[in-house]
């Protein structure tokens, strides 16, 4: 086990309200006055991060993600528990904090770098790199107000990450910006990780959690609901988003150690699911681009107005490679009776990169699982793809190609 760079132990944050603000002041002088209201937004959060590990924090709005980051970054103090950090910590809670439009790029770098605790001489030493990363050219010595927003963002990111921190904390800041900026900043973050920087990332973007993080924390109602692989945490988070009052979320540990999440009202249920080859035989390994059929048998437990089957095929990291549903495909079932069975067969080519895949199914009433979810089942089926007859290729999916070469 490598060295721990961050340890949060029993962290809690409460916002206190007093009957009168003077009571609060009296409290500073030691008067024993209890606050009129103590609202705990986070409670009992404990986790540890190793050097080089990257952690994504997910959760609904108001779950306490930003508060947690602020406590780790040190701008907010916990009311309970402790955070201990080792090494240099850099936090990007908002890009371009402390920038002033009237100052030049260079002056802004000195100012905001200074605010982050860098010494002037350190900033001077990093200046060339910052100017290069931000790609400002002649604009560097002109006022910030004439910069494009892309330039401002690159400059802000460059200042914040000019020196490799041991712990890098990022709050949604990278969701803004054009795709060029996003690629550039991701590249920088990846190179930090390779050099041993631990990353803590809050994001609403599941794809960035999946691609950047090797672990995820789910916060729900101020508590740490789950700490695990991004795949299992995001599956559970999805279920949480769709959960209605009184519904249970089940999780099972599968044989390979992965965690399956099942949620929904259970008014309908996937009974059997299989992947069939061209001859109709169930298989668990298919060749690249082979025609296959996904067969799903559903049992309905209660009368429901409408039944839609959705499915998504996910890569090993949990990224959805392809997904759709029977509503989009024009075949929703209306007025389904209690006890009825339905069989869905989806034919598709296995146009995937060799690797292992999982299928998630959703039985819902409309086009998304937020409307009314009867059953949401992650890791409902696993299969592998191998390349048997196709020429070697690279990427995230297979495309049938036709090469024509003319010589001379």
């Amino acid at each position: 086990m490598s060295e721990l760079v961050l340890q949060a132990h029993g962290l809690g944050k409460a916002f206190r309200r007093y009957r009168r603000e003077l009571d609060r002041v009296a409290g500073w002088f030691g008067a024993p006055i209890a606050p009129a209201e103590e609202r705990w937004v986070l409670r009992d959060i404990s986790f540890a991060v190793e050097a080089g590990q990257s952690i994504g924090i997910v959760g609904r709005n108001g779950a306490g993600k930003s508060t947690l980051l602020k406590m780790i970054a040190g701008t907010m103090r916990p009311n309970a528990g402790t955070v201990s950090l080792s090494g240099r910590v850099a936090a990007i809670l908002e890009l371009g904090m402390g920038f002033n439009p009237e100052l030049t790029g260079r002056q802004n770098v000195y100012h905001s770098g200074g605010m982050m605790g860098l010494q002037r001489s350190e900033i001077s030493g990093l200046m060339d790199w910052i100017a290069g990363f931000a790609e400002l050219g002649d604009h560097f010595d002109q006022p910030l107000r004439i910069y494009s927003s892309g330039m401002q963002m690159r400059l802000a990111f460059a200042v914040a990450t000019a020196m490799r921190p041991d712990v890098l904390i990022i709050d949604e800041a990278l969701a803004v910006g054009d795709s060029y900026f996003q690629h550039k900043s991701m590249e920088r973050i990846r190179s930090f990780r390779e050099q041993g920087t631990a990353l803590i990332l809050v994001s609403h973007d599941k794809a960035s959690v999946q691609s950047l993080c090797d672990r995820a924390l789910l916060l729900d109602e101020g508590r740490l609901a789950l700490d695990g692989t991004p795949e299992s945490v995001l599956d559970y988070y999805n279920a949480l988003l769709a959960r209605k009052e009184g519904e249970a979320i089940e999780t099972h540990m599968l044989d390979d150690g992965r965690i399956q999440t099942i949620s929904g009202s259970r008014q309908a249920q996937v009974e059997r699911i299989a992947l069939l080859d061209a001859a109709g035989r169930p298989v668990d390994t298919v060749g690249v681009n082979a025609p296959v059929t996904l067969r799903v048998e559903v049992l309905v437990h209660e009368d429901i107005p409408r039944l839609v089957l959705g499915f998504s095929i996910k890569s090993r990291l949990g990224q959805t490679i392809f997904g759709t549903n029977s509503h989009f495909l024009g075949k929703p079932l209306d007025n389904v009776r209690k006890g009825e069975r339905a069989t869905f067969e989806v034919g598709l080519p296995a146009a995937f990169v060799p690797g292992s895949y999982s299928v998630s199914t959703a039985l819902v009433s409309g086009e998304s699982h937020i409307e009314q979810s009867y059953e949401w089942r992650d890791l409902a089926l696993m299969f592998s793809v191998v390349n048997v007859g196709e020429p070697p290729f690279d990427g995230i999916s297979y495309l049938p190609v036709d090469l024509r070469v003319k010589r001379g």
Binding site: F15, R16, E21, L22, R24, V25, W28, F29, K70, A73, G74, T75, M76, R77, V89, A91, L93, E94, M97, G98, N100, E102, L103, Q107, Y110, H111, G114, M115, M116, G117, Q119, R120, P143
Partner: protein, 264 residues
């Protein structure tokens, strides 16, 4: 308390460069640039020295000069301006920097320090203008001018202590900044700056002396207008008061800093 000092020391370059930045921003995109920093106090002094003296050319007891009233007035303002500038800026400094305090971890004590520093520089420029005016109107300062740094330090410390106390309270009770605006107006007229204390009827005069600023301004009068050393007793009293206010300010700041970000 040690932590506060360490943080401020670690950020000393940031404090000085922020003060420079403030001045730079004040004159950004103006043609005359840095000249404006001097022109504004220069005009103020010119009004005090020449315009007011033309209207009110009374000779004041103790100052043998046609510009006696101007000299008196400028000495009073040399005391008053830095005081109110420091108090006013400290009162709102945490609120104005709310976002930075929430998003960046840095020693918060640098915020009031930057305000105090920039107000000090600003008022030293004003002081320099006043000195030039004094020379021009034939009131060249004597050796007692060497007392001025002491006066300034005590004044700035009083203002800083009071300002930090009020600034911390203002985060939680925004009424403070409204009250401060009114009280400073009131304080201006309760202090002999534009009038001489002799015009106040005897029984009321003693009441004015309860106002610490009375002593601040009177000592400035002694040093700058009358060419005397400051009054020792009142200087000691003011120093003790300033030290107490600074301690109280830092105490409140330390106690409140955990909750400040929550309330902003």
């Amino acid at each position: 308390m040690n932590g506060l000092l360490k943080g401020a020391w670690r950020y000393r370059h940031f404090i000085t460069s922020s003060i420079a930045t403030e001045f730079r921003l004040r004159v950004a995109r103006s043609r005359l640039g840095i000249l404006w920093i001097v022109i504004a106090p220069l005009m103020q002094v010119a009004i005090f020295a020449f315009v007011l003296s033309a209207i009110m050319s009374h000779r004041l007891p103790g100052i043998d000069n046609r510009f006696a009233y101007s000299i008196y007035l400028m000495a009073g303002f040399v005391a008053w301006f830095p005081f109110i500038e420091i108090v006013n800026r400290c009162v709102t400094v945490f609120i104005e920097n709310a976002n930075a305090m929430k998003k960046i971890a840095f020693p918060r004590i640098v915020l009031p320090l930057i305000c105090i520093g920039s107000a000090s520089v600003n008022n030293l420029i004003f002081f320099a203008m006043v000195m030039i005016a004094y020379v021009l109107i034939g009131h060249a300062p004597g050796m007692t001018i060497l007392w001025y740094p002491v006066l300034f330090l005590v004044t700035a410390a009083l203002a800083a202590g009071l300002g930090i106390v009020l600034g911390v309270l203002n985060v939680f009770m925004r009424d403070v900044q409204q009250m401060v605006a009114i009280l400073l107006q009131f304080g201006f007229w309760m202090t002999p700056i534009v009038y001489m204390v002799e015009i106040i009827p005897e029984p009321w005069r003693e009441w004015l002396k309860l106002n610490p600023l009375y002593w601040v301004v009177e000592n400035h009068h002694r040093v700058l207008a009358y060419g005397q050393a400051p009054d020792a007793v009142s200087m000691i009293g003011l120093t003790v008061l300033a030290a107490m206010l600074v301690m109280l300010g830092l105490f409140l700041f330390r106690r409140a800093s955990a909750e400040m970000v929550d309330a902003l």
